[in-house]
């Protein structure tokens, strides 16, 4: 290949790289219809959506250099939420994304200033990272959205 031809490939490569960074590498979910995805997520989240009555749906990625498994992280999160933060575990079940990530869904409840809140956390350990999908809001509102949120989590990628 001539030098000129190789030089001509560089802009195409840069365009592909920026497209990958912009779409493929950021966390994404198909938000429920009643939720609005925010253009810019606030740290520590990489994905953020909000309902009109202030329920939240987020996703983030945390490092897992030790490659801890699903069982370890599921129990560690439960212990953290129950023993350190005083949450109550409402239910738990297996979860799986459309891309094949296997995870654990944990639904917690907590009270603050006389109001009961639900906090949905789905954990997916994948290689050296853990993908977390979180949703929360007042109990009645989150119960209303629970099915839609579970469907949204299945689209995490």
């Amino acid at each position: 290949m001539h030098r000129r031809a190789r030089m001509a490939l560089i802009p195409r490569f840069l365009i592909l790289l920026s497209l990958c960074l912009a779409t493929g590498c950021a966390l994404h979910m198909d938000a429920p219809q009643s939720y609005l995805k925010l253009e810019t997520a606030v740290w520590p989240y990489e994905y953020q959506a909000v309902s009109s009555d202030d329920c939240r749906l987020t996703a983030r990625k945390v490092p897992n250099p030790e490659k801890g498994g699903l069982e370890f992280w599921s129990k560690a999160i439960q212990n953290q939420m129950i023993q350190a933060k005083g949450y109550t575990l409402v239910s738990q079940q297996q979860a799986e994304t459309q891309g094949g990530w296997k995870g654990q869904e944990l639904l917690f409840s907590t009270n603050s200033k006389g109001r009961e809140y639900y906090y949905l956390l789905v954990v997916f350990p994948v290689g050296k990272h853990i993908y977390l999908a979180e949703a929360g809001g007042e109990r009645k509102l989150l119960e209303r959205d629970l099915d839609a949120l579970r469907k949204a989590v299945q689209t995490l990628r």
Binding site: P44, R56, N79, A84
Partner: protein, 255 residues
């Protein structure tokens, strides 16, 4: 008859005087001996270390012994020290039922008996010769927060009671002899009255001696329980910082 009555009364008073002189004489000489041999007695000594407490009396001194002089007709006075031991402990336990069970087992092991139990308190008596062995095992019951051990040397009081008892018994014997000799009704009534008074006094002295003997022979240990679980000044905290950011608070505050 009148003369006889007067002479009988005079005889009674002579006996009383003689008895008192005799008592004072024995007491004074005995205390002099004690002072020479053992120094001045101390009572109400508060002992907070084992070594100091042991110096107050040897193991053999703590063995229960009655006053040797209390036997009728005997004039010898025991010079053994008589020490009453009492210990109090404040113990912390996370389980009162278990602590009480251990305390009762200790009482049984030492051949003692439970004196009082209830409201987080437990007191018991153990043979004096088992007192120190028992205190060494208190840590098996609970964590010691505070304790005190007190000893009271009752030797002087004990010997004093013994001597007074001897004298009274001797005097009673003399009164009974006088009563047996007979005389006028008035004289006999006077002597009988005195016999009754001395008998009552003897019983009172014997009661005091028995009480002291019991106090010396059986040491008292009182336990006071503070039921409290061990305080752990550490929160649940796994070494993954992101775990701390989980929860509804972070989620709803992300704007």
């Amino acid at each position: 008859m009148k003369r006889l009555s007067r002479s009988a009364l005079a005889l009674v008073w002579v006996w009383v005087f003689a008895a008192c002189s005799s008592y004072m004489g024995v007491e004074a000489s005995d205390f002099a001996n004690q002072a020479n041999q053992e120094g001045t007695y101390a009572s109400g000594i508060v002992v907070d270390t084992r070594g100091r407490a042991r110096s107050a009396a040897s193991e053999s001194d703590r063995s229960p012994k009655g006053p040797g002089s209390t036997d009728a007709g005997s004039t010898s006075i025991s010079k053994d020290r008589k020490v009453v031991y009492k210990a109090e402990y404040s113990l912390r336990t996370s389980n009162l039922t278990v602590a009480l069970a251990r305390a009762k087992a200790l009482v049984q092991e030492m051949g003692g008996w439970v004196q009082e139990e209830g409201s987080g308190k437990f007191s018991f008596r153990v043979p004096a010769d088992k007192f120190w062995a028992t205190t060494e095992k208190i840590t098996d019951i609970g964590q010691i927060l505070d304790h005190s051990i007190k000893s009271k040397d009752v030797t002087e009081e004990y010997m004093d009671l013994g001597i007074r008892l001897q004298v009274r018994k001797k005097f009673l014997g003399q009164l009974e002899e006088l009563y047996a000799k007979g005389g006028s009704l008035q004289d006999l009534l006077a002597v009988k009255k005195e016999i009754d008074r001395v008998t009552e006094e003897i019983e009172r002295l014997e009661g005091k001696i028995r009480f002291l003997q019991e106090q010396v022979a059986w040491s008292t240990i009182r336990l006071r329980f503070l039921v409290q679980s061990e305080y752990v000044s550490r929160d649940f905290n796994l070494p993954f910082r992101w775990l701390q950011s989980l929860g509804i608070q972070t989620l709803l505050n992300a704007r």
